[in-house]
Symmetry: C2
Subunit: 416 residues, 2 copies
């Protein structure tokens, strides 16, 4: 039995799985009588994975009501219908409801009914066109190929369009499978990818500048892969390459291996938010903070090895790994060549100045700040109220899987 | 009284100074009856400084005897003539005698008599042509201008063609004065120098590639300034600039100021040679060692601030100043982009490997050596027998003027 066959046995939902979700969907739909309500998403497309316990139910309004209606009135209508159930209000471009019924998560999403994927008013409006494109381009075999690809992406950590992951969306996985034909062929090609990667199921109606470019067949001025980070493209390409050489179930279901040593000095920054927020909004800020920290840490003179972040919308951990937390108070500062205008200024502004073998001026400068914690505090900012806790990692008996991954560096599938 | 006038009072020899040297010269010449012996050098040219206590006496042989003769026979002849005096054998291109008479050093140099500066067989043969060119192009006033320039160069530490200094020779100082007209004009121009600097008293008969190019008027295929280092050109240019703005005797006779603090970590390497050697031969090796150390120290991962060397042909001190002597055991190693051929090799050869935001592979590498003393020992080499002593500088109560200069960095004349 091939690796793919083994994996499919684990991820292909059976009749019982489908019936369970269908039953929940029917209950929700029955309450939406009189509305134009439809099952959408991967359950509808038949590309969902065993163990997935979420269904999308879209409620379509005539486009004439406008997106303001979705933002207020429709939400109220929906709440009235489901107020006796366990529900939550979530926010994307506009608010929607999350219901928890028999351990199944049902997203009830209001959207506008439009005539073409190119005329969307809100992002949700495009969904039925995606559903149609995928279902008309994939047979049963093709759906399993999508499942393999999704699980592969999950296993190597590049699945999910949310800002926290910046990975491949389910729709992108579907389009890749349609474009290349099957799971293997996707990987065979991905292993040779070099950005910019242009995969045109349809001619793009705009120039994209992202590293992976897959114009949306239902709206070709949109790049479906615009959110995929270069890092995730790289990880996917490398994993594809290694999988093709040596297929293994490890890629789909990676083993968890504990880290054995702490290299360099690692500052763990734990950020806690007082109130619950939308994950994408928190993580947009997390990555901005990470970028800012990177620059501040390097500018301060530390040798940054790596910086990572994980968590959810309530608690975020940022790990800063540097070669050495103790850095010198002074550093060498390279000045201008002796024959340029800047020399007078340089000699005036610096105390310790000399002329190097290369004819340039040099000076010794005092570092402004050599305490990393202070640098972090000066550079961390969120719109939400938050508290910070910082610790220098001294032992690795912590039970934090993501921390162990961060410390180990090398993914388990990277066997060469 | 201008700064120049004050300085001239200190450096212009008086009749007594001249008589003293003349007397010694006459004694030596009287022993050389029957030889074609002549006073040469700056005493002959009238550009010597008060306090200079050395005279060059050249003994010319017909060029037909060849340079082999100078290397052996002529030396023996000269030794026989002066064996009752305090003499030493010194080596340049060929050996010569150094006599010490009444605290005056007389270099007795054998050379070949040639018809033109362009037909030299040994470097010494060119000297009488230099003497003739200088004496026919400088009047008494001009000689004082040369004296000012030489003392200025001495004061800022760029005077001397020997390998230890890589500075301006007396002849170059004379040519600069002849080229520009006087001391002030030399500095007025030098402050605007930008390499390559081409000063043609005569059209060069060859393309030079050194930063300062002054073709020899008596042999235009030779660059008289070929030995001047870029650093010394830079120092001279900067000092000229500052002197023109604010003339001061400080440039000619710098005050000695002690250093106040040790910045970074400083390893003092004391190299001692068992036998006496020619200074140029030792210092050629010193600078090669310094270059080698620079590279080795940087490659090892230390942040090098500065490296300096001083001493003589018996004892050499090399000071290595680094930001911090303690460096991390591991360092960040940047690997190839994910789409190039090197990735397989990189993943195979490195233990800790991950993919960065930029799509490149990174790894953590163990440093081969983090002990600076060991790195120094592994990289120091001389043809002569030598011993090494290393100490980390912890106090600056040392009575080593050069060490204080190294620590202070900023020359005293650099007042802006």
């Amino acid at each position: 039995m091939s690796v793919e066959e083994k994996v499919l046995e684990l991820i292909r939902p059976d009749d019982k799985d489908r019936e369970r979700l269908e039953k929940v969907a029917e209950e929700v739909l029955s309450r939406l009588k009189g509305f134009d309500a439809q099952i959408q998403g991967s359950f509808r497309k038949g590309t969902w994975l065993k163990g997935d316990t979420d269904i999308d139910i879209f409620v379509f309004y005539p486009k004439e009501v406008g997106k303001e209606y979705l933002r207020e009135k429709s939400l109220k209508e929906l709440i009235q219908l489901f107020q006796d159930l366990n529900y939550e209000i979530a926010f994307a471009e506009h608010p929607y409801l999350i219901l928890k019924i028999n351990n199944v998560e049902v997203d009830v999403v209001p959207a506008l009914k439009i005539d073409s994927g190119e005329d969307v008013i809100t992002a949700a409006d495009r969904t039925p066109f995606h559903t149609k494109f995928v279902t008309t381009h994939l047979d049963e075999k093709g759906k399993d190929e999508v499942r393999l690809l999704k699980q592969f992406m999950k296993g190597i950590g590049v699945y999910g369009a949310e800002i926290k992951v910046k990975g491949f969306s389910g729709y992108v996985a579907e389009l890749l499978t349609i474009y290349y034909g099957n799971f293997r062929k996707v990987l065979e090609s991905a292993k040779t990818w070099k950005p910019p990667i242009k995969l045109n199921l349809v001619e793009p109606k705009r120039d994209f500048d992202e590293p992976l470019q897959i114009p949306d067949p239902v709206d070709p001025k949109r790049n479906t892969a615009s959110a995929v980070s270069l890092r995730n493209i790289a990880v996917f390409s490398l994993a594809s390459k290694i999988f093709i050489e040596r297929p293994s179930i490890e890629f789909f279901f990676p083993t968890e291996i504990k880290a054995e040593e702490i290299i360099g000095d690692i500052l763990l920054i734990k950020v806690e938010f007082k109130e619950k927020s939308v994950e994408d909004i928190i993580w947009g800020q997390v990555w901005k903070n990470v970028e800012k920290l990177k620059n501040a840490i390097k500018t301060a003179g530390f040798s940054l090895i790596d910086i990572g972040a994980w968590g959810n919308s309530q608690t975020v951990k940022i790990a800063v790994q540097i070669e050495d937390k103790n850095i010198s108070r002074y550093y060498l500062n390279q000045g201008p060549y002796f024959y340029v205008n800047g020399v007078d200024n340089f000699m005036r502004k610096n105390k310790y100045v000399w002329v190097g073998e290369d004819g340039r001026l040099y000076s010794l400068k005092k570092r402004r700040e050599t305490n990393l914690e202070k640098i972090v505090l000066n550079n961390l900012s969120f719109k939400e109220n938050f508290s910070v806790e910082m610790t220098w990692l001294s032992e690795i008996n912590q039970d934090d899987k993501e921390l162990h991954k961060f410390l180990r560096k090398r993914p388990t599938w990277m066997q060469t």
